[in-house]
Subunit: 159 residues, 2 copies
């Protein structure tokens, strides 16, 4: 059971300790599993994958590495734009590298949250960088979204 | 300028005071403007309204009172389901009252955040209740979303 009184003999309050820790929480500690499709997947199948996994953003790969991101907004645009969603591959409608905002496991949730707000996206792919013949490639190992941050807000506030 | 050292003579730390306040922050303090359409608006025009205002959820009213909610997910479903989005009114595809989770200005952000996570939605309409001839009606006066909560997380952590 958590003590009701927040002060310890050290003069450091329980809340303060929690608060100090919150600033240090890393993306890797609250990440979710990423939903990934290949560039050649049809828009329709990508939408199905989005619904089955109940996510707002899907990461697109080619040869195992991140090449793009598609959001619900992209899907709506392509639907109302008259795209043949059964034939067109997701690679055509996605936002393509290098125009993707990335997150890394060891950066703070605070920094990731700032990127999410600044770039007006719902989630970020968490990636690992690999350098092959002098060129950068990114492997998708997770995702961090406004949902993860809202959950964290509840966790830190609900004490 | 904010003092660098977090302790005051009272023994209460600056962080603790902020933390105590965070728990008390009310929905009304961080709310956004709601995007509202009438039930008779076409699905297409509702989508346009969603894009113009860059929101993920639109609130639907009839006679000035809340009757439903439509999300990006609903729009994608109706698109791939072959709905004639120019003819069908948004009232047909929306989630209808009373199956809508509501928020009130004077409840805490923590409680609203819990509703958002529990019911797996992106945002909640902030409403004012009116009773007319013994029946409850709700006027939409704002919205609170995962974006508002992510912004609040940045504000409280980034100090």
């Amino acid at each position: 059971a958590r003590p009701k009184v927040g002060y310890f003999y050290t003069g450091k309050s329980e809340n303060q300790e929690i608060f100090d820790k919150v600033k240090e929480i890393k993306v890797g500690e609250i990440k979710s599993i990423p939903v990934v499709v290949d560039e050649k997947t049809s828009v329709y199948d990508s939408i199905v994958s989005m619904f089955l996994n109940d996510v707002g953003t899907i990461f697109v790969i080619s040869g195992g590495y991140l090449t793009g991101v598609v959001s619900r907004k992209d899907f709506i645009k392509s639907c109302i734009g008259g795209t043949d969603i059964n034939k067109v591959p997701v690679g055509i409608i996605m936002t393509r590298m290098p125009n993707i905002v990335l997150a890394f496991e060891d950066e703070t949730v605070l920094d990731a949250a700032k990127k999410i707000i600044e770039h007006e996206v719902d989630s970020l792919p968490i990636v690992e960088k690999e350098i092959i013949k002098g060129k950068e490639y990114f492997r998708v190992i997770g995702r961090i979204s406004k949902t993860n941050i809202t959950r964290l807000f509840i966790e830190i506030t609900n004490i």
